[in-house]
Amino acid sequence: MNYLLGAFKPACNISITFSDGKNRKQVPMKKENGQTALVPLFHSQDTISGKVCIEPYQGKKVEHNGVKVELLGQIEMYFDRGNFYDFTSLVRELDVPGEIYERKTYPFEFPTVEMPYETYNGVNVRLRYVLKVTVTRGYAGSILEYQELVVRNYAPLPDINNSIKMEVGIEDCLHIEFEYNKSKYHLKDVILGKIYFLLVRIKMKNMDLEIRRRESTGAGANTHVETETLAKFELMDGTPVRGESIPVRLFLAPYDLTPTHRNINNKFSVKYYLNLVLVDEEDRRYFKQQEITLYRLKEDASS
């Protein structure tokens, strides 16, 4: 019985440790089973180094045709499950074919790795970085071990960052002018602005500002678009009169946002919109949507 069980068990335990694992920042990441786990955080141009430790179980030996570690950047479409598009793939051979009898440690290093895209977990698409250790065996199947990592890339302060200003209305019914102080916000930013009422002939219940994320995947006829409302922030309660100006102050920090992604590897895009919604007393909605660009600012540089 023991023998049988032993036959299906992997013959060894593989662990991956990072050389700066203790100091490296870890961020929570949602796993496929819904639980969150802490995952080390990397940035583009970081050197990824560490050790792979292979430890056969007691009294076993591992015969293999070579040991390698790969750094993979993958895009996975959920509607096309199982198909990964690797946009980054780096390999380090750790061992020539042979046998491992006892615990064996292999150092590895990927120096200044280019990781152009951020880790992203969307509705229909996932972009992830993973370290994959493969102990290649001919007949018994290779032994694999994965280590997820999160990549975040900082963007510089944009050179041009105009405010968004617009006058919209429905003739003889509602006429407003709104203004957001910027068109590009970093993830901990605060949206300031105001809504100026030029004409009010409807009875309003309230006015909300929504943050919407539009994720489009695929290309051409296969494009899938998914829109989520990530934030619903009430700006006004009741009906204003002409000339009233309502302040906007929305802190982005509490919401789970990512930077705007435009056409990542021709596979997907993620865009953000501010949607100003006026709801009248008959629950009719009047809205105007404006795209904003989100970017990640280096933490200590954020204001």
Partner: protein, 787 residues
């Protein structure tokens, strides 16, 4: 329908309160375990109950108060959190993550309060941020309560002078700006309530607005409490801004309430110095605003201020308060053509009171006010609105009360013109008020001119007014009125006989035209007053200035004759009769024989023609005898005529005892101790004998009529007369006659008689015994009498 509504409301309130309580409980638990995140979460949920639109202001207030209490706890918790190292800036950001605006803003205000307390940022910045952010609530009811909360928590944190939050960057200007802004926004919301919802609920809405007005007014109160709001600040910033808001909101309820609020919360001194600004705003208000009440209150306040602080009066002059007010009122009245008369009168009444308090020395002001009032009333006819009448009476009473002196009021030429507009009944009341005022203050009215003016005022009780009396005046009231007029006459007095004569002439003129009913009340005091005048007349030939006195006794007596003549026609012969006698006496003093004789003649004529009641006759006769006895002026002939007549009257009295008494009284007419010429013992005896005879027959009458002997009282009375004249030494009264009379009485005494007569007789005898003991002539004469 409505009942259902309120029932539902109770239900909603109960539901809201329950949910509220539950979240408050969780919040408290989070606070107890120092869990900021949960505390924020549950407090936001708790505050979400305030988002309801279903409650009336009253019920909403209930919920709001609960929230207020809970937020105090939260504020303490925030404070503790910052002490534990939580950055207040972060906290200030954290509370703004709430998705719903109303809870978010309540939390923001609470956090803001803590933020100010930590002094990590200038108070003004935070206050400005809060008041701006609150714009997000445009719903009137919720907005008002939110801003009211803001006002409440910021009250002790304003960077006022002397406040701990006053820093280099924060000045009182910021505090004022903040409150003004909050006030403006609240007022806008409050006004907006009026225009929301269906027209049929207008009444309910107005009621609800009434309930909410104090929330708005509170801001003005806060402003008035700021140390830093001094006169300059008030004049240059606060007042113009507040007035601008009031005028521009163009809402009747708000304008009325807020103007009144300004008047009530800010110091009088400020009002005084900014009077033209405040008044300038009045005509700009909506036509339907009750400016009258507002202005009245303003003037009332200013008058009280002046009354309590005499030292501020110069300021009133300096700023020309009166003319400003007067102008303003003129403008307001002009602007509102169809203003009810009541309002106008109220306004003038207040202005008058103000003038009286502030410029007591400026009668012309008061007169001016009355003049404007007349102008306003003219063309409106008599006032028939009872409230307006009341107000007019109050207006007219004001000068009287103030000056305590009708004389001053009489100088107001417009005063009687105003009185003209009262109805008859009220005129009477007014007149009584005036008279009472005179009496109360013992005001002497010293010139005929003033008297004339006064009577013009009190015409109501002096004359039957022109119009037919619709209402029968209550007899008691009438008497009381006329009595007061009688009293009044004695207050019209001048030491100078000439002027005094003029006064009485004026009185005569008024009284004689005043209708017959009044004469019997008014003539006697007038006569008495005139008689007093006679007594004061300088003795003829004793005029040191050699000036021909224009007022002579003769003239006055003629005057008296004229006025008394009016009386019998009233008819009040009784009164006239007495007055004639009094005049006669006065004439006697003045040595005016023909006049005295004339008066007596008049009295006799009255006695003969008008006095028919036997009892009255007795009394009248006694008066005649008494008066005649004292008269000195008559020559023998005249006196004889009069005495003879009197004795004749005496004999003609109906009842025997009356006859008897009258006759023996006549005896006095013939013997005057100090006058040699009138000592006619024969006729004295004759009278007494006649009296005895009558007494006898009286007894006989009694005997035959009732079968019992009458009283001996009459005899004893006659005995007393005998004794009197015996004592005086009338030769015709002899010892024998006295003795026989005593015997006669004693005989009568033996019969059963009444005890009063017995004791009367005993006393008489005792008296005789007593006189016997006396030394000298009297004693001797009595010794002679043997009893």
């Amino acid at each position: 329908m409505i009942a259902d509504g309120s029932e539902d409301e109770e239900k909603w309130l109960a539901a809201g309160a329950a949910a509220f309580k539950q979240n408050a409980f969780y919040m408290q638990r989070a606070i107890d375990s120092n869990n900021l995140k949960d505390a924020l979460k549950y407090s936001a949920q708790m505050l979400s109950e305030l988002r309801t639109s279903k409650l009336s202001p009253h019920k909403y207030y209930d919920l709001y108060m609960r929230a207020f209490d809970e937020l105090r706890k939260l504020e303490i918790f925030f404070m503790e959190e910052t002490r534990r190292g939580c950055s207040v800036i972060e906290l200030y950001e954290l509370v703004q993550h709430a998705g719903n605006i109303l809870p978010r803003l309540y939390l923001l205000c609470t956090a803001g309060s803590v933020y100010i307390k930590t002094k990590e940022a200038p108070a003004k910045e935070i206050l400005k941020d809060l008041v701006e952010m609150c714009r997000g609530i445009q719903h009137p009811l919720r907005g008002l309560f939110l801003r009211s909360y803001l006002a409440q928590i910021s009250r002790d944190k304003l960077p006022d002078i002397g406040s701990e939050y006053e820093g280099d960057a924060d000045t009182v200007i910021d505090a004022v700006e903040f409150v003004l802004l909050n006030f403006t926004e609240m007022n806008k919301l409050w006004v907006r309530m009026q225009h929301q919802g269906p027209a049929r609920e207008k009444e309910r809405r107005e009621k609800e607005r009434g309930e909410l007005r104090d929330l708005v007014g509170k801001n003005l109160h806060v402003l008035s409490q700021l140390e830093g709001v001094d006169l300059d600040m008030y004049r240059d910033t606060v007042l113009p801004r507040v007035l601008e808001q009031i005028v521009n909101c163009r809402d009747e309820i708000a304008q009325y309430y807020l103007i009144d609020c300004i008047i009530q919360v800010f110091p009088d001194e400020y009002h005084l110095q900014t009077l033209d600004v405040l008044l300038g705003a009045c005509p700009q208000l909506q036509a339907s605003v009750d400016i009258m009440t507002v202005l009245s209150r303003l003037m009332e306040r200013l008058s009280n201020y002046a009354a309590l602080n005499a030292e501020v009066l110069p300021y009133f002059l300096q700023v020309e308060a009166f003319s400003k007010l007067n102008n303003a009122i003129g403008k307001v009245i002009e602007a509102q053509e169809d203003m009810p008369i009541l309002s106008a009168v109220t306004l003038y009444s207040s202005l008058l009171k103000f003038t009286l308090h502030v410029h007591p020395d400026r009668l012309d002001y008061a007169d001016q006010v009355l003049g404007s009032c007349v102008k306003q009333l003219s063309g409106k006819g008599k006032i028939d609105d009872t409230r307006a009448t009341k107000e007019l009476v109050s207006l007219l009473s004001a000068p009287l009360e103030k000056y305590n002196d009708v004389v001053t009021a009489l100088k107001l030429t417009n005063y009687p013109l105003v009185v003209e507009y009262l109805d008859t009944e009220t005129k009477r009341i007014m007149a009584t008020v005036i008279v009472r005022s005179i009496m109360k203050n013992n005001t002497l009215i010293t010139t005929a001119e003033k008297v004339e003016a006064l009577f013009e005022l009190i015409k109501g009780i002096i004359n039957d007014l022109d119009e037919p009396q619709g209402l029968e005046v209550d007899e008691d009231d009438f008497q009381e009125e006329q009595n007061s007029v009688a009293l009044l006459i004695h207050m019209l007095y001048n030491d100078d006989p000439e002027e005094m004569f003029k006064i009485v002439n004026v009185l005569k003129k008024h009284f004689l035209t005043g209708g017959p009913k009044r004469l019997k009340f008014t003539i006697p005091p007038l006569v008495v007053s005139t008689l007093k005048l006679i007594r004061r007349l300088p003795v003829e030939g004793d005029n040191p200035f050699g000036k021909e006195a224009s007022v002579t006794a003769t003239k006055i007596f003629q005057f008296l004759n004229q006025i008394i003549e009016a009386l019998p026609n009233v008819p009040s012969p009784d009164l006239a009769f007495r007055l004639y006698l009094q005049c006669a006496e006065a004439a006697d003093k003045c040595d005016e024989e023909p006049i005295a004789y004339e008066f007596f003649t008049q009295a006799y004529i009255l006695y003969e023609e008008e006095i028919s009641d036997s009892k009255a006759q007795v009394t009248a006769l006694q008066l005649i005898i008494g008066t005649l006895q004292r008269m000195q002026v008559f020559g023998v002939e005249n006196r004889d005529t009069l005495t003879h007549k009197a004795t004749g009257y005496a004999a003609k009295l109906l009842k025997k005892p009356d006859q008897c008494r009258a006759v023996y009284a006549c005896s006095h007419l013939f013997w005057l101790e100090d006058r040699e010429t009138i000592q006619d013992g024969e006729r004295v005896l004759l009278c007494l004998k006649r009296a005895l005879k009558i007494a006898n027959s009286a007894q006989q009458v009694a005997n035959t009529a009732r079968g019992s002997t009458g009283s001996v009282t009459l005899f004893i009375e006659i005995l007393n007369k005998y004794l009197y004249f015996y004592e005086k030494g009338v030769p015709q009264i002899t010892v024998e006659s006295v003795e026989s009379l005593i015997k006669l009485i004693k005989n009568e005494e033996s019969m059963p008689s009444d005890p009063s007569a017995e004791s009367f007789f005993a006393t008489t005898l005792e008296f005789m015994e007593f006189q016997k003991q006396k030394e000298g002539a009297i004693g001797e004469r009595y010794q002679a009498i043997k009893v």
